[in-house]
Symmetry: C2
Subunit: 507 residues, 2 copies
């Protein structure tokens, strides 16, 4: 009874999750300790000078870099890790967009108002109104920019992700965010945007009120810093911070949500830590809504990190199948509810849930099935009876649940949990059957630094933009409120990344 949630989390994370990803946060904290003692003033000599310095090479950073370069600026992108792309490359490549020609071709009736309403519903009304609306309004422009300007290859089908009222998710053909990051990197290369990897931001440098550049550590390797070897980079027009969220930073995330200890795995790459957010706070940015940290309900405890289970979940098991509690054999939540509702519901049961779909429902995830089966993340069964036996689900209850669900599909109405059947969902009956275990992992930090609609970082005291400082993507807060809808990260990053790139050159 004591510490119910706390203990529930500890017990089950310990039991079901893989090894923790705490190391990155801990190692960085060591570096920060050293750095914190120093107060960097404006250097007499700058090692390099650019018009625009972009921090981070994910969707937001590369979008900003491309726009700034197109406007004639001399642009460099600094990336901490040895490979570019951050979480963007390991995301599922789904992009919510309203009013696309793909939606029209499929007869989906959608509107900006409807998407904003979905974002508010998931976000519990904590969304910044103007920013949420801007993402929805410009989502199709961002989609067309990816497809028509960058040459990103998208499927011609739509997916219906949890929390969305209608199907509006457009997915890259390779079902990965790298399908967008790679064309972005290629465009940067064509345009002459420089990219430097293994560069760690130590300090933003402020002259009066204006951010004028950075002190960085070149040749950075996580956990093997040489903090003395620094370099000063000048940014004539400004700095765009697009360094991502901090879901992998166990030390920092537990200060905002003490339940999310090292026992909880994360979907994020190990570089998703808070040092750039802290720098933004240090120079006067306003940290907002930091304690809202999203758990992904489609993660599997049987693989590390983001893995491939989310693709099987998002495109097969959740839309086309069911999720049951193995103790009861029954569904317990709308499989297309928003992430928070689903993750909370799974955690409340106290043990991993079982996602199930059949051969027909599996098809949209077909290309990842070999790996998932080989790794033992997804299992394949000739009958639901065998699946029930394997996962220790009461057989009769599961069969009865499947029959009820099939009746709902046939009737076009889910009388149990109001799951929307607008994707031509099929009944669950065509063998073989596929099963997966779900247990949430830390996925997205909704909170971050406050920006205005021009992607300018707002000073906590004056409420005015900090000259020379812009931010976009997961490092910012407000757009998503309490809970980000699935596949709204990409439009958020691209819409505000492009705005940041367009605005910084005007400085």
């Amino acid at each position: 009874m004591i510490y119910y949630l706390e203990q529930l989390f500890r017990r089950h994370f310990l039991k079901f999750s893989g090894a923790a990803t705490a190391t990155s946060g801990l190692l960085l904290a060591g570096l920060s300790t050293e750095a914190a003692a120093q107060n960097v003033s404006v250097p007499k000599h700058w090692d390099e000078t650019f018009d625009v310095v972009v921090i981070g090479s994910g969707f937001a950073g590369l979008s900003a870099a491309i726009e700034a370069r197109k406007a004639g600026a001399n642009v460099i992108v600094l990336e901490k890790m040895p490979v570019p792309g951050g979480n963007s490359t390991i995301n599922g490549g789904g992009m919510a967009a309203v009013g696309s020609d793909v939606q029209k071709a499929h007869g989906v009736k959608d509107s900006v108002d409807l998407m904003v309403a979905d974002m508010y519903k998931a976000g519990l009304g904590l969304n910044y109104p103007q920013q949420a609306r801007m993402v929805a309004e410009k989502s199709n422009e961002a989609f067309e920019w990816c497809r028509d300007y960058l040459g990103v290859k998208f499927k011609d089908t739509l997916a219906h992700f949890g929390g969305h009222a209608v199907p509006r998710t457009h997915t890259t053909t390779i079902q990965s965010g790298s399908g967008i990051v790679q064309p972005m990197l290629q465009k940067c290369d064509e345009l002459g945007v420089q990219l430097q990897k293994k560069v760690y931001v130590k300090r933003l440098i402020v002259d009066g009120e204006r951010v004028v550049g950075l002190e960085v550590l070149p040749n950075y390797r996580q956990g093997k810093e040489d903090a003395s070897n620094t370099k000063f980079i000048k940014a004539n027009k400004g700095v765009v911070m697009a360094a991502g969220g901090f879901a992998a930073d166990v030390l920092y995330r537990t200060t905002q949500d003490p339940r999310l200890t090292a026992e909880l795995d994360t979907t994020n790459h190990k570089g998703a830590t808070a040092e750039c957010l802290k720098e933004l706070i240090r120079v006067g940015g306003n940290p907002v809504q930091l304690s809202w940290i999203q758990l992904g309900p489609w993660a599997s405890p049987d693989e590390k990190g983001f893995g491939l289970a989310p693709i099987f979940a998002g495109y097969a098991a959740y839309p086309n199948g069911i999720m049951v509690d193995p103790q009861t054999g029954k569904r317990f939540v709308n499989e297309l509810a928003d992430r928070k509702i689903r993750a909370d519901a799974i955690i409340k049961t106290g043990h991993p849930a079982i996602g199930i779909c059949d051969e027909v429902g599996m098809q949209p995830a077909k290309h990842v099935m070999d790996k998932l089966l080989e790794r033992g993340v997804v299992h394949k069964f000739d009958t639901l009876n065998e699946l029930a036996a394997f996962y220790k689900i009461p057989e009769a209850e599961l069969l009865a649940q499947a029959e009820r669900y099939n009746r709902f599909v046939a009737q076009g109405k889910d009388s149990e949990f109001s799951k929307p059947f607008d994707m031509g969902q099929k009944t669950l009956g065509q063998a073989p059957f596929y099963g997966v275990r779900f247990w949430p992992k830390a996925h997205h930090t909704m909170g971050g630094i406050e920006i205005d609609t021009q992607a300018r970082v707002v000073n906590i005291e004056t409420r005015k933009p900090i000259p020379g400082l812009y931010a976009a993507g997961e490092i910012t807060g407000g757009t998503h409120g309490a809970c980000r809808l699935g596949t709204v990260a990409i439009p958020d990053c691209i819409v505000f990344g492009r705005i940041a790139g367009q605005q910084v050159v005007k400085a």
Copy 2:
């Protein structure tokens, strides 16, 4: 459908709430703009020097001052407002304490574990475990310190507040926090603690890593600052920040929760603004859980600010009566659920709820009834029928609800909402009857600056305490997680205020 929550809030706050309290936040923002341009270095000349400087004269600040003075330090308390005490003087004077002789005399079985469990349940598990436990563990010591050392007069009865498993609220005889603040001020006077009013903190002054003093504006009047007239105060041992929360700071609170616009009234005094929190962030403190801002479910839209309705609610209508939705005539939530559950439930109905009790149930609030009736906040009726007609409640439904409720009381079990009946509750039947409208107001900011269990402010980067800097009370975050239980503010403030006062002198 669009912006459901947003519009709900806007519409109803506009409709039912009184004038906003936005002015204080706006005026202070103007001052801050000016101040932000300056970077205060260590002055050559200090105007005054003390061992310990305490900011804020509420429960936490005065507790710290008394302890520091008792340990031999030369102490000054700086208060921004013209009168001391801040929100502490206008609070209801209820103090949760575990294991008191009063509980024992009434045969209440309680434990530290039980109180911590209650705090976790309301806090959604976001509580800092060590801090929550420390408040519960030291709550009785704090209660006895107030009663036996300070001479605070408490009733010899207990109250059962929402979210607590058992009655553990000890209330001052005058049912106001001023019943504690005044003896504290008297003790400060006896001990030789100085108190300066109308002093506004402009800047904390840091030398190297250590906080060494402050720049302040003396003769401060809210909205009429003379920012040029500053004074430097040295703190040889350290500064204790106990400046309270920011629920009255509309400008800042909406950056954390955009729903809480100026249309929403607050229970707080107008000085409850964020400037000291921002100073703590500026010098390297870690702002945690700032977006959790509590709405008081016992506030009346028919009076301004905190008012007297919360006393009628907390001691009469909620424990001894019922709350109904006037559209249905039915109860809709456990009247002793935690504040968040009740406030959310009221807001969900879309209109103010009606709290009702009878002549017997009213007795614990008797001393405030004349004022409440005179001001038209509470109304008195000879029959429930008349009450129903006045508030436009369906009469038959209300009478049926009262009958059901009375049956539950007689049976000792609430079959509708599991309200605990452990206070010898009476049935609702002794005329006259009393009615009040409830609509939530912004009440408490759960988040704040991170401290450790020694009340030391923790550096966001190094995770080490910032030398010379302590904080206690509502300006800190973590103890309460997502939602503070009623009457846990006083033990929180006194426990950590005393710790801060004891620790700062050791520096």
